[in-house]
Symmetry: C2
């Protein structure tokens, strides 16, 4: 059972360069596969996943057994073990998610602009696939059908490297997936698994055959990939998000938002790490806010002015706290002298991810929204909304901290680029140097 | 006269890190400057350029004198000397181009999408400046006002490093420019010159304060910058463009297009380097085509099959020719067995820049346009149309060979990104886990 992994017949699994080359060749053909054919292949893949449920769950049971041994030696956390597990219900969910991708509008061939340059000479800027996308992820096997379905829908070939702890599950998922693709006439090599960490290291240098790398993992992992590769990388490092309670805030709204942003899911990158409070309202707001935070199990680290207002249960924050992503039930609190100081603090310590202001003063809010340089700038809402599903993007390919190509939660559009199609009838440039004029009529 | 260059008062020119830091601070403020204020500053700058004409031309005369000495020792080509020269007419042109940027629509605050996530919770995806953009260019001083005007119009701070041969001209241009910006209340540091090659090397490592690098120069220069910097780079390396004459071509159109693509301006990246011809029509097409090319001074290097058709005046092409950007009056010619072989050749040797097919067979043309992976794919038109002005983009910031963010000729939009603005009234994520539903209504 390895039809699904990158394999050269009779020679065992393909090397990363072989897999990437095959993916590149497949991607050229995929660019011309119709929406109908892509959707039929996806529907068949969803069926095959359901039919293969027994095999998938059995392979996963083997992975889980091996992982449980590791868990006893503390090489694997209980959270990783939970993410690894695949049940009958998970397989049904995977199939359902593949069908939901079928229902998304076609991301290809969308006309971004049409300009008549001159009579009979028409320029169309049109969306098309990126080509070959590589995704490196950790233990969750449901990433395989999820990312593979987004890639196929957007006409891209995909190279996937999952965690070794899920190797058996991933192999079976990919074999199941590719049996459907093959039957649907999708070019061979359109979806392949890579097998080792060495494959990933080789992948980083295959800029001729790989157009985009999406590392899904911790900050250090993402940064190390970006440093080592000349292939464009979309991912996100730190998530140091702030909630700023302005002097004009409705303090009840502020309490609700701060609690949600910190405690709803502290491990998420869009959770708040620092609370900024205007000095004008600090004495009214902080005692009750800190009491509620502590009741929710949050450790509070405050600046000097915070400590002067609430002495008990507040540790002193150090310079280092402002630059720390706790990913935990810890919150640093700083009293500021108004909007400008809040914005300066955010630019000094934030990670351009998601920043929120709480205020009823709409002029202050609009200044915050236009001046703060971040992927998400929020007024009277929790930072936790920064997410592809909540944004209505349909499915999230990843979150990008960069400013180019895609910023913030990235939907399937992040896997497309555009090309310019120019249709003429023998037009030459020299003619426009001897009197002919461009019309440049936008259609 | 150095108010225009990066300078810390009393300490001489700023170092690259100081200049970039100042640019970053300026960029935060620039993001909130109104369109009206940006346009007024540009109009004043155009006036100042006209008023400063005498000073500019005088400074340029000094640069030209120094360059003429170098030209005698062959350290500078006659072409560089020509590009360096600034006349009264050039200054008037610079001012006119700045005014044309004023007339472009505002690239900022454009709503790319508006989604109601729930009652009273509205998500707007809105264009905004990238932040700090650095442009490194060669001898043409008119790049200074051109790029500075596009940067200011799009709300970006700019760092410019020109060639040392134009140092005096660039200093005066920048001082003139900044006198207008200062009078218009544009934040200090929004436009700065860097001074040395060492500054550029330092710049490459300032990823905290520089969002985008645009190197405008030769292929090796662009590649060396990309390799050394973790800052995103937009530029283009090689331009190996093909014209493919399909069996269904109108041979007269084909002749016109091939001649234009090769001879209109051979040094341009969008000039053709290789002609592909279907074997079916090669014997009819090549003799006359090659005769015309030779009459236009073009050296022809053909594959074996080409040599068998036209023996005289055709050198034998080697494998290396297919991968060479001549940038000169040289053309390689290859006979192919139809569309598939043409596309395979283009993907093997092309640089994803601009590729053209000549044919009256629209099915073949559409296949070529969808399957060829390049920034520009043309039907019955010369590759020389690949240019921001000809595309109607208003002004060209550069050409990108990459697929992310911007592809092909890049207008001012290439200097913008987007942010998500979310406006609520106390919304928290926890509510949607206990029954509340998103509406996700696209407006």
């Amino acid at each position: 059972m390895n039809a699904g992994s990158a394999e050269v017949p009779g020679t065992g699994p393909a090397t990363a360069p072989e897999a990437a080359r095959l993916a590149r060749v497949a991607s050229r053909k995929l660019a011309a596969v119709s929406e109908q054919q892509r959707n039929s292949a996806l529907l068949l893949a969803a069926e095959r996943l359901e039919e293969g449920e027994g095999q998938i769950v059995a392979a996963n049971a083997e992975d889980v057994r091996a992982a449980e041994v590791l868990a006893r030696t503390e090489k694997m956390s209980p959270a990783m073990l939970t993410r690894l597990r695949v049940t009958e219900k998970s397989v049904a969910d995977m199939a359902e998610k593949v069908r939901s991708v079928v229902r998304l509008p076609d991301p290809l061939g969308r006309k971004l602009s049409v300009t008549e340059l001159d009579t009979g000479l028409v320029l169309t800027k049109e969306t098309c696939p990126l080509g070959v996308v590589a995704v490196v992820f950790e233990s969750r096997p449901d990433v395989v059908p999820q990312v593979a379905s987004l890639a196929l829908k957007s006409g891209n070939a995909i190279l996937l490297k999952g965690g070794s702890e899920a190797a058996r599950t991933n192999e079976v998922l990919m074999a199941t997936w590719n049996s459907a693709l093959e039957e649907s006439g999708i070019p061979r090599g359109a979806a392949q698994l890579l097998h080792s960490r060495a494959d990933v290291m080789e992948l980083l240098h295959l800029e001729r055959d790989v157009d985009l790398l999406i590392p899904r993992g911790g900050k250090d992992f993402v940064e190390s990939i970006s440093r080592q590769s000349r292939i464009p990388v979309l991912g996100h490092g730190a998530g140091i998000c702030h909630v700023y309670v302005h002097s004009g805030a409705d303090l009840q709204k502020a309490e609700r938002i701060v609690l949600d942003a910190k405690t709803d899911y502290p491990a998420a990158c869009n959770a708040a790490e620092t609370l900024l409070v205007d000095t004008e309202i600090a004495a009214r707001f902080l005692p009750r806010m800190i009491e509620k935070l502590r009741a929710a199990g949050v450790e509070v680290r405050g600046c000097e002015r915070t400590g002067a207002i609430v002495s008990s249960g507040v540790d002193a924050a150090s310079e280092r706290d402002w630059a720390t992503e706790y990913s935990d039930l810890i919150l640093s609190v700083k009293v500021v002298d108004g909007l400008d100081q809040a914005i300066t603090h955010i630019h000094a310590y934030g990670s351009n991810h998601t920043e929120a202001i709480v205020t009823e003063d709409s002029a202050a809010a609009e200044r915050f929204l236009s001046e703060v340089d971040a992927a998400g700038v929020y007024h009277n809402a929790s930072t936790r909304f920064a997410d592809g599903y909540r944004y209505g993007l349909g499915a999230e390919v990843g979150i990008s901290n960069g400013k180019l190509h895609a910023r913030g939660p990235m939907g399937m559009d992040g896997l497309t680029t555009y090309k310019y199609k120019l249709r003429g009838s023998g037009h030459t440039v020299a003619d426009y140097k001897s009197g002919k004029k461009f019309t440049h009529r936008v259609r």
